[in-house]
Subunit: 309 residues, 2 copies
C-alpha cells in the first residue's frame, strides 16, 4: 500500500539547490504539485513552478509556505561540511534550531509528512569494513554531521508525539547534473571541473578511501518514495550500497568525459575515514526503492551536463 | 598515570543542584579548589565555597567564572525530562546552544578539561536484554535525551578540534541525599516522600521494568575520576551495571526506611522501556572507577537524610 500524491501540494524547501531541483522535477513526475522555496527564484525549466522566495528562518513566511501542503521535503542547509566547525554554537542555532522550528511549524499547519535530508556520509563517523546499517554507532566527524544527527533525533520525537509523520533520509555522496564544484563540495563535480579547465585537483590521501556515490536522480526518487510509502521508518539510508575508491571513481570520470583529470595526491587529513558505504536494505524493504542508475550511466549524464556549461 | 588536581580550580556549573552539591564535596576531597556556579548561592556546608551566582546563559558572566579554572564540570540543565517535549525549538536554544557555547567559552578561557553530565537513562531509547555499551544504538525517547546526545556530539568535536579535552558521562538513574521529589524526577526520592507522608505513589506499569540505580556519591566520584584520568574517552557510561526492577527497589526502600511505600499500579506509559541497564566496563578500564556503594547502604544513607528533613 502506498499513499497517492496525485494533485497533492508538496513544498520543497531548498528547491533551488542541487538536490532540490531534481526533487522538484521528480515530485512533478509523480503527479504531485510541487511548490519550491529558496532564497532566490528559480530559472530554466523550473521558472514556472510556484515558488516562495525567502528564508526558512522567517517563521511567518515559512508558515505561509507550508499552509495547505500535504508534505514537505526539507533540503535547507544553513551549514556546509567544511565551515560549520568554526562557530559551533552559531551552527546549532542556524541549523538545528531553525530546522526543528520549521518541522514544528509544518505540524502546526497540518502538514502530514516531513521528509528531511540527512547525511549518510557524516553521521556514522567511524570506519567500518561492512556497509553501515541504520543501527551502526553514530559519531559525527564534523559539525555538519552533528547537526544533521541532532535534527534526526528531534524529528523522530515529533513523529512519535505529533500527528505529522517524519522521515530522515541519510543520503550518501550524491553527484550529478547541476552540482557545482564550490566550497569543497562534491568530488565528482570537482573532478569534472578540473578535467575541463585542465587544472590540477588536490586529493587528500592516496585515493584508496572508499565512498558510496549515488546519482542525484536516484536520490530524488528516494524522496518521492519516502513521500508515498505507507509507513516509512524514521531514519533510512539512501545510497548505492557499493564501495568505490576515489582512484576508481577518477578512472570512471575520465572514461565518461573522455579526458584526463590531473591530480596531485597530498597528505591525508585526519578527518577522512577509510570507508563509508551504506547498507540500503531498509530502503529496499520499506520504501520499495533501490538505486537504479548504473554508475557509468550516471557519470555519462553528468559529463554531458558539464560539457554543455 | 593520572593528572593531579592538587590546588587546581574546578568550576562546578549547577553546583547547587542534587548531583552538583555532591560533586563540589568530592572535588574538595580530591584536593582541588571547587568553585560553584548556580542560579542561587549555596547554604549549609557549601556556604563557604567560592561561588558565582547567575546563569550560564550569560556569556560574559560565564567567561569570568571559567577564567583561571583548570577544569569545568557541567551539570547545568535548562530542560527537564518531562517538560522539554512541548517546545522542541526552544529546548534546542536553551539547552543545546547554551551548553555548546559554554564549552566554547571554556576552551577560549584556557580550561583544560570539560566534563559533561549526559543521560544514560534517555539517550539509548530502545529495549535491550543486555547491558548497554557506549556503542549501542542511540534513539532518545524524549527531548531531554535528544539534547543531551546532541551536546555530546558537539563536545566530541570540540575535544577533537580544540586544545580542551571533553568527556561526557552517561549517568544512569542517580539517587541519594539531597534529591527532592519534585517534577516527577527521581523514583527513590518520590518513594521516600510518599512513605513518610503516607500518600499513595502512582507507578506506571506493573513495576517489572528494570532500571540501573546508582548512588549519587558514586556518581560524584565518577566526575572526579573523569577529571583526573590521563586520557578519558569522549563518552562513558556511569551506572551500577545492575538491573533492578521497580518492585525490587520498592522492597529495598521499605527495608531502608522501616516503613511501607503505599503504591497504586497504573496503565503503562508508551515512553517507558522495559529495561535500561548500562555496561560500565569502559569506565572501569579507562577511568579506574567502579560503583562501590552497595544498594542497601546507599538507600540507608538516603533514608537517614529523609528522616532528618
Amino acid at each position: 500500500m502506498a499513499r497517492t500524491l496525485n494533485g497533492a501540494r508538496v513544498l520543497v524547501v531548498g528547491g533551488g539547490g542541487f538536490i532540490g531541483r531534481h526533487v522538484v522535477r521528480a515530485v512533478k513526475d509523480a503527479g504531485a504539485q510541487p511548490v519550491g522555496m529558496d532564497l532566490v527564484a528559480p530559472d530554466g525549466d523550473l521558472a514556472n513552478v510556484p515558488w516562495v522566495t525567502g528564508s526558512v528562518s522567517d517563521p511567518a513566511l515559512f508558515a505561509t509556505a507550508a499552509a495547505g501542503c500535504d508534505s514537505v521535503v526539507f533540503l535547507a542547509n544553513s551549514s556546509l561540511p567544511n565551515t560549520a566547525n568554526f562557530d559551533l554554537a552559531a551552527e546549532v542555532g542556524a541549523h538545528v534550531q531553525v530546522s526543528v522550528k520549521a518541522a514544528e511549524i509544518c505540524n502546526d499547519q497540518g502538514v502530514r509528512r516531513f521528509v528531511f535530508a540527512s547525511s549518510g556520509g557524516t553521521v556514522y563517523g567511524n570506519d567500518s569494513a561492512e556497509p553501515l546499517t541504520e543501527n551502526a554507532p553514530t559519531s559525527p566527524r564534523n559539525a555538519y554531521g552533528a547537526s544533521k544527527l541532532a535534527i534526526e533525533h528531534y524529528l523522530r520525537l515529533i513523529g512519535a508525539m505529533r500527528p505529522m509523520w517524519t522521515v530522515a533520509l541519510r543520503v550518501s555522496n550524491p553527484f550529478g547534473e547541476g552540482q557545482r564544484a564550490l566550497r569543497n563540495q562534491g568530488f565528482v563535480a570537482a573532478a569534472m571541473q578540473h578535467a575541463i579547465s585542465g587544472t590540477t585537483m588536490p586529493i587528500w590521501g592516496d585515493g584508496t578511501v572508499e565512498r558510496d556515490f549515488i546519482h542525484v536522480h536516484d536520490v530524488a526518487l528516494a524522496f518521492v518514495a519516502a513521500l508515498v510509502a505507507e509507513a516509512p521508518p524514521a531514519t533510512v539510508n539512501i545510497g548505492s550500497g557499493q564501495a568505490v575508491s576515489l582512484r576508481q571513481m577518477l578512472a570512471e570520470i575520465e572514461t565518461a568525459l573522455g579526458a584526463p583529470v590531473p591530480v596531485a595526491y597530498e597528505a591525508g587529513r585526519v578527518v577522512d575515514v577509510k570507508r563509508n558505504v551504506l547498507d540500503v536494505g531498509l530502503a529496499r524493504r520499506t520504501l520499495d526503492w533501490s538505486p537504479r542508475l548504473p554508475l557509468a550511466e550516471g557519470l555519462a549524464r553528468t559529463a554531458a551536463w558539464w560539457r554543455a556549461q
